[in-house]
């Protein structure tokens, strides 16, 4: 039991360690403005990573989320720009745009999920394929450049990223709500149970009257919708999308999930661990920028070392498993 507790706490300890490190390196680190920045930035990857936790727990993977975010951001911006002359630069238009983002995300997720469950293609390949497809489409829609939101809408929409309750901005609030709901869903609902059962042993799950294909499909749709939600928060930040939006987000999201203690091969999902993982990754970036290092060329190396170290604390668990 003691062993297992240590494992569960591993990433948390790493997070606390980073916190202390940050505070020691630069007092500005603990300023509310900085923490607010870091948390708000974490929100995009965070929302996606919560969805990714379900997909990975179920035994799948989704490499397309970064490109999907770029693509959804692109169509959302285009939709709002197209609507603005008709409906005007008002909240109605923005809400419609948000609707497009959510529906588009869910639909994109459905496509991934359907290819995995109905066409029965390996998830890695499906989402590698759609990763290329989404990225190409957004580049093509933007004609190689950048899609920018109409400036009237932009001004109206901006507070969705920058506003909030004091320094607790909307992205932070949304991320917190989704994280809590995600954890709750994984722990306390039938869906969460079935996701874990499917990832642990899908044959047994099927024998126990779990509709494995449906559960799988639902996780992809959920992830897609969360990508849509992340987009809703992303667009007001810079008001633009291009072929370079969301590059490598998939890797970051998957890394956050695994740092958080969810097994890559599925079976056990830990949403709160994922949240910790996301924060760890964001903090590393922040601390590297706040500290003065030998050479910025080595940032990536330090990042790599910290990621590995953060996970070392978990290894105890694997020892127990291996027996």
């Amino acid at each position: 039991m003691k062993r297992i507790d240590l494992h569960l706490l591993g990433p948390l300890i790493a997070l606390i360690g980073l916190f202390i490190l940050g505070a020691l390196l630069n007092p500005a680190f603990l300023a509310p403005a900085n923490l607010s920045n870091v948390l708000a930035r974490s929100a995009f990857i965070g929302l996606i990573a919560v969805g990714m936790t379900f997909v990975i727990t179920q035994g799948g993977i989704d490499l397309s989320v970064g490109s999907m975010a770029a693509f959804i951001a692109g169509i959302t911006i285009m939709a709002m720009n197209a609507l603005a002359p008709i409906t005007g630069a008002n909240w109605g238009t923005i809400l419609l745009g948000m609707g497009v983002a959510l529906a588009g995300g869910a639909l994109a997720g459905y496509v991934n999920g359907a290819l995995v469950t109905k066409a029965r293609i390996e998830a890695f390949i499906v989402t590698l394929g759609t990763m290329g497809i989404f990225r190409s489409l957004v580049t093509w829609l933007a004609d190689g450049g950048t899609l920018s939101l109409d400036s009237g809408l932009r001004t109206l929409y901006r507070p969705v990223y920058f506003g909030g309750i004091g320094w607790i901005t909307w992205p932070i609030i949304v991320f917190a709500i989704v994280a809590v709901l995600g954890e709750w869903t994984m722990r306390h609902t039938r869906f969460g149970r079935h996701v874990e059962a499917t990832g642990s042993n899908d044959r047994v799950a099927r024998y126990s009257a779990v509709d494995v294909a449906r559960v799988r499909l639902q996780t992809y749709v959920l992830l897609g919708a969360l990508v849509g939600l992340a987009t809703i928060l992303y667009v007001p930040r810079l008001g633009s999308a291009s072929g370079s939006t969301g590059v490598l987000w998939e890797l970051e999201a998957i890394a956050a999930v695994i740092i958080g203690g969810t097994a890559l091969k599925g079976g056990t999902g830990r949403v709160w661990g994922t949240v910790v993982g996301v924060l760890i990754l964001s903090l590393i970036d922040n601390i590297l920028n706040l500290a003065d290092l030998v050479s910025p060329y080595l940032n990536g190396a330090i990042q790599g070392v910290i990621i590995v170290l953060a996970v070392v604390l978990q290894r105890e668990k694997r020892t127990a498993d291996e027996r």
Binding site: R187, R193, S200, N201, V204, A205, A209, G267
Partner: protein, 497 residues
């Protein structure tokens, strides 16, 4: 009275091979029906057909006299037909409670009702007299505990028909009694029960009707009291079985294995034992007494402290390679998770531990020959050496595992539950085989939860209790009573001689 569920001239083929040939069978409410037969006779296949997991190739399944076609297991379950599979069907990462209620979770306002499910699970396990914690993950449970959870899971379904595929194969005495009590209760409640078993005493004790299967066809039907254990065995095997245990003609040579002060954290404390060449050493004990851990530690599969020497030569502890190099082989009790690669062909499974004997470039021809020899020697009934090991019948998997272990030509063999799921005919063969190993001068350690089995085989017996070696009995002192006393913690020496 119409039977609750019945098979009408059912056949079933896998590929070109027909394994059931026109089977008729009927289960009545309030009756216990035993299905017995040799390994690979088709018992599990019949049960899977009844439970909707397999479709008959031809013929019909009748539910309440009407033909039905279950598309899958859950559909049959919805109709009240519940199966406890021979192969475990538990999700390793979920808890005991999670597994018992998988697919039928109880909720309150969307939220899982953890407490209600936990209570219900605890109640079910209590009914089975089993102390398994309901929050333990299946991954962390021992094989017998998993079997108990499987039974609890089936009991939690409101079954009209309960089909049990070798439910007691992995259980020990005490748990078996709890199972029997449940069977009696369900029978009294009017449930139609069917089970299969290689424990013939159990068949005599429980069954109202018996159907004997041989090579996929029914060869005998009988009512309670019509068949004795011997006549059942004869009907199954098609020949007379005499003297199931070979004579103990032991000629011991020098000390082969010596274990001193072996401690496996949390499982085994300060265990010491010696084993001579030509000797069969039995280890008895209750479930959880640490027998498996002791054997695994000797085979280098667990980190441990202490000293292990083979022929006086100290070996490194915790290294499977060192143990294997010293000639120690361990045959696991957990054949599904630790014994066989279920998706790989039989031949690859057979040779996995002994590949170095097939040349740098693996000699396929020699491998095939080894497979042929093993098939003959261990009477493995397989359609083809290229079929995946998972498609073998349970008993035949066990035989393959035995063959695999023997292929390494070990000097010391540790066998954990050697005859789990093995039919009487083959059991006899395996006992002969164990004896033959000893005659060849090898050392054999047998761990078994079937007391008669260890007693019949062993020259000398150790009894374990709570991770310690509680005592040793040998020769004529090997009696059931002496062993049970040691296992339960009542000192054998207190017994007046």
């Amino acid at each position: 009275m119409t039977p609750v569920i019945a098979l009408k001239s059912v056949t079933r083929s896998f590929g070109a091979v027909e394994v059931l040939h026109g089977v008729d069978l009927a289960l009545n409410a309030g009756e216990v029906h035993a299905l017995i037969g040799e390994n690979g006779a088709g018992k599990s296949t019949i049960m899977k057909i009844l439970g909707g997991y397999l479709a008959p190739t031809t013929g019909q399944v009748l539910l309440d006299g009407r033909p039905v076609r279950f598309r899958n297991g859950p559909e049959a379950e919805a109709a009240g037909v519940v199966v406890i599979h021979q192969e475990f069907n538990l999700v390793p990462d979920l808890t005991v409670t999670g597994n018992i209620f998988l697919g039928r979770e109880r909720t309150r306002h969307l939220r899982l009702d953890h407490q209600a499910m936990r209570d219900a699970a605890a109640e079910l396990l209590a009914r089975l007299d089993s102390p398994i914690p309901v929050d333990a993950r299946i991954r962390d449970l021992s094989v017998p505990d998993r079997q108990m959870v499987e039974i609890a899971k089936a009991l939690s379904r409101d079954a009209r028909v309960l089909i049990m595929d070798e439910p007691s194969a992995a259980l020990t005495h005490r748990e078996v009694e709890a199972l029997y009590a449940q069977v009696d209760r369900l029978r009294a409640d009017g449930v139609a029960l069917m089970f299969c078993s290689h424990r013939l005493d159990e068949v005599v004790r429980l069954a109202d009707r018996i159907t004997v299967l041989r090579d996929g066809a029914v060869v005998r039907r009988a009512d309670r009291g019509e068949l004795t254990e011997d006549s059942m065995a004869t009907a199954m095997v098609g020949r007379e079985l005499t003297d199931i245990f070979p004579p103990k003609d032991t000629v011991t040579s020098d000390e082969l294995l010596s274990v001193q002060g072996l401690t496996v954290p949390g499982a085994v404390h300060d265990a010491s034992l010696r084993l001579a060449g030509g000797e069969v050493l039995g280890i008895a004990g209750l479930v959880g007494s640490g027998r498996t851990e002791l054997a695994e530690a000797i085979a280098g599969l667990r980190p441990a402290r202490g000293r292990i020497a083979v022929s006086g030569q100290q070996i490194r502890i915790g290294s499977t390679r060192a143990a294997a190099a010293a000639g120690i082989a361990y045959l696991t009790e957990d054949r599904k998770e630790a014994g066989l690669l279920l998706t790989k062909p039989l031949t690859q499974n057979l040779t996995l531990s002994a590949l170095d004997r097939f040349g740098f470039r693996i000699d396929r021809a020699r491998e095939a020959q080894a497979m042929k020899d093993a098939t003959r020697e261990f009477d493995i009934r397989a359609a083809s050496p290229d079929m995946p090991a998972g498609a073998l019948s349970g008993g035949n998997q066990q035989k393959l595992l035995l063959a695999k272990t023997m292929l390494t030509e070990p000097r010391i063999v540790l066998i954990d539950e050697p005859t789990r799921g093995i039919d009487v005919g083959t059991k006899q063969q395996i006992y002969q085989f164990v004896r033959q190993l000893a005659r060849q001068g090898r050392g054999v350690i047998v761990i078994s939860s079937e007391l008669p089995e260890v007693m019949g085989l062993a020259d000398r017996m150790l009894v374990m209790r709570q991770g310690r070696i509680a005592g040793e009995v040998s020769g004529a002192d090997i009696t059931e009573e002496a062993i049970v006393r040691l296992a339960m913690g009542l000192d054998a020496r207190m017994e007046p001689a």
